[in-house]
Symmetry: C2
Subunit: 443 residues, 2 copies
């Protein structure tokens, strides 16, 4: 018999169907055995009636067995209806069971409420913990974040390109970059697709990429990984850096809306709601922020100041988001556009939410001569960015762009405490799949 997906069972009330899936829960109640079965589409309670031919075979079936089940879809008696769970008003009365695969006894409690591992153990057993509804929910939200970024970009006329991961040189400083043995040469993993997306923008005008970037940060904070998914956009023909702010705001707004719509069940399960974005997000220059906080002006905000700013803005306006622009020009990369009126401040910007930076961007220098001046001032080797510089010799409109990390946005939307929870296979200085101190690698 053709397989029926669990989400479609309600269309087959009273009919005999075949479902296939994993055993999430086994419950023995006197003469009745119940299995909660899950497939990619949902979960259903099934019951083995005492006189069923399946009763004997049901005896040995444990959690995570993979089954093909034939049975009848029934409405539950009124007293057994559970409005709080999916398919709580129906159940499947089993006629026969085929075991498609056995499972060993689990090494820990994987039930919805009983699951309670420390983070290292959770990550060591990623192959199994991914089956828990908590992680199914987290990575569903992440998939929607990434997919809705692409959806919005395409809607706005942005062209998708594939940024490279291997780079020939460390253009922007080499401290936090991974080195690759490239045949008999050295190469590097890209820390950002920045220069490539600017090149491609000069040909396609509006471009985006979803791309891995790599940071050799020797830190073990709750916010940093060595490999992340970067969502990048770059656009030509802007009139001002505020066009970039507006596009980035519209992008985040669209993502939050899609997550709310498509992940309502997951947000509820995780006990959270998406942050509040006002029609116009409060926007302050760095100088204004220091005045607001009543502290002396500095080169950048420290984490504590970021938290206080977000709290203040939330109290004053109700917004969970705040833009900060106008950082000291020399604090930022060579390509960031200096404010023509006050060249010591640039037209870069950050979007903060709930105390943490979500997104960075701003206007870039598009004039070739100005760019070459900055290359000199920043003491850079023009040979190492020759391809980037060539793009700007041949006519580039005023432009800007922005970027954000998919894992950090997942973490922040869901209020997770550690970015490793928002990453399927997190890499940091101590872990690649397993702790690097354990002898599971070639190293």
């Amino acid at each position: 018999m053709q397989r029926t997906l669990i989400k479609d069972l309600k269309q087959h009330l009273g009919e005999s169907v075949t479902i296939k899936g994993w055993v999430s829960v086994r419950r023995d109640q006197g003469k009745l055995v119940f299995f909660d079965i899950r497939d990619r589409s949902g979960t259903i309670q099934t019951v083995v009636p005492p006189k069923s031919g399946a009763f004997e075979s049901a005896k040995d079936i444990r959690v995570e067995y993979v089954l093909s089940i034939e049975g009848i879809v029934n409405t539950r008696p009124e007293k057994n209806v559970n409005a709080k769970v999916e398919n709580g008003d129906i159940e499947l009365a089993i006629d026969s069971i085929t075991v498609l695969a056995k499972a060993e006894p689990l090494p820990f409690d994987m039930s919805v409420d009983g699951f309670n591992l420390d983070l290292p153990t959770e990550l060591d057993h990623r192959a199994l913990t991914l089956r828990h509804p908590r992680f199914q929910a987290i990575f569903k939200v992440q998939a929607v974040i990434i997919d809705s970024f692409r959806e919005f970009m395409k809607k706005e006329g942005f062209f998708e390109f594939q940024a490279p991961a291997i780079a020939p040189a460390t253009a922007e400083g080499g401290a936090e970059v991974f080195q690759v043995e490239y045949f008999d040469k050295k190469a590097y993993l890209t820390q950002s697709p920045q220069l490539y997306k600017q090149i491609v923008m000069t040909a396609f005008e509006r471009v985006f990429s979803v791309n891995k970037v790599f940071r050799a940060e020797p830190s073990t904070t709750t916010r940093h990984l060595t490999e992340i998914v970067s969502l990048d956009a770059e656009m030509g023909f802007i009139d001002s850096w505020t066009d970039v702010r507006d596009m980035s705001e519209a992008t985040v707004r669209f993502i939050l809306q899609r997550v709310s719509e498509q992940c309502a069940k997951e947000l509820e399960f995780l006990g959270t709601t998406v942050p509040v974005m006002l029609e116009k997000t409060p926007t302050y220059s760095l100088t204004e922020v220091f005045q607001k906080l009543g502290v002396p002006e500095d080169k950048d905000l420290n984490p504590e100041q970021e938290r206080r700013l977000c709290e203040l803005v939330k109290e004053e306006t109700g917004s969970d988001f705040v833009y900060v622009y106008g950082y000291p020009t020399r604090q930022k990369p060579f390509y960031v556009y200096p404010n023509p009126e006050q060249p010591e401040f640039n037209e870069g910007m950050d979007l903060l939410c709930r105390g943490v930076e979500w997104l960075s961007g701003g206007r870039r220098i598009n004039d070739y001569e100005q760019l070459m001046e900055h290359v000199q001032l920043w003491n850079m080797d023009p040979q190492k960015i020759a391809m980037f510089l060539e793009a700007f010799r041949y006519g580039v409109p005023p432009e800007g762009g922005f970027a954000f990390g998919a894992e950090r946005m997942t973490m922040q939307i869901l209020g997770l405490k550690n970015i490793r929870e928002a990453t399927m296979f997190p890499r940091d200085m101590n872990r690649i799949d397993y702790p690097l101190s354990e002898n599971r690698t070639d190293a």
Copy 2:
């Protein structure tokens, strides 16, 4: 005045508009100066009338200048209509021009017909050649291939995940793998997301990824790169390897259809058509293929045999595609499923098109004990694939999957001679942006 995109100009006949874009062509005809202007949406011929205030400023404007132009959208006089080009029935009469950015004189002819560079020069100048319609067309097709892969996967209930690029060990042999200096340890760039996609499949049932993979192949053929975009799928609850074949066939069919629909203009410009896929693609076992070719049975097809097979199938059936399955089990990786009737042959498969392999896949072993037997037989270190093996301890349905490279498919659909033409920033053993022999790197 608000900018109008060039594709929308026909809706503004007789009106004054502002367009912004690059000068593709400058033509001087006596007292008239013409500019072909392009933006992200299209191309339009503009003309500077002799009495226009813009006539003086037009004098210095060269190819690739970036302009903001105000003018009136006119229908062309009958005799000037050119049905062969985009917007060939209208033109823009220029009132005023603002130069947004200047361009240096080009280092080579970038006109549609005059462009004629050898491949190394074309790649050295990627920052500029990307502006040529040939490459705009190629990378448009590539973006559609990748996007329609994702579209079809989502339609079929596949879940998108992000496969890692950094791996802890070289599970499947280390010869062609890049090594990364990972703090004080060694790590590696993934050659394939194979084991990770199988892990994620055990939790999400149907999964896909669009992901960079890396091969340290010391070859300089027209088909090989060191960094490619891999399109990967894996599905549980199959009944037979032919379910995988059917899903891969439907995926390729959908991609070809989307490319035909969304890239008609690009295919015409590049002078090509998509390959012919029949309702049911001819499918032969490797043994049958050798009989068909009239050559002695061997372990695999060589490139010449692949070409001959495709020619034969094309002659006999009209199909540009052919599936080959049933390779010798010990020739393939440990996870490939052996045919239960003839365990010396496996249920892996390749899809060939126009003489070249496009896609590989097949059924995998899902039974933990059988998997462990293969791990022993293949002489593998179970510690190095511990996370993968753990997934299979806890119940995995019969499953399979497939993978193909975005660049090779782009190359093959468009009949390009070299995969580097189908890659925006190709990396090989001699080139990362520029030839590695030149001193532009840190190496």
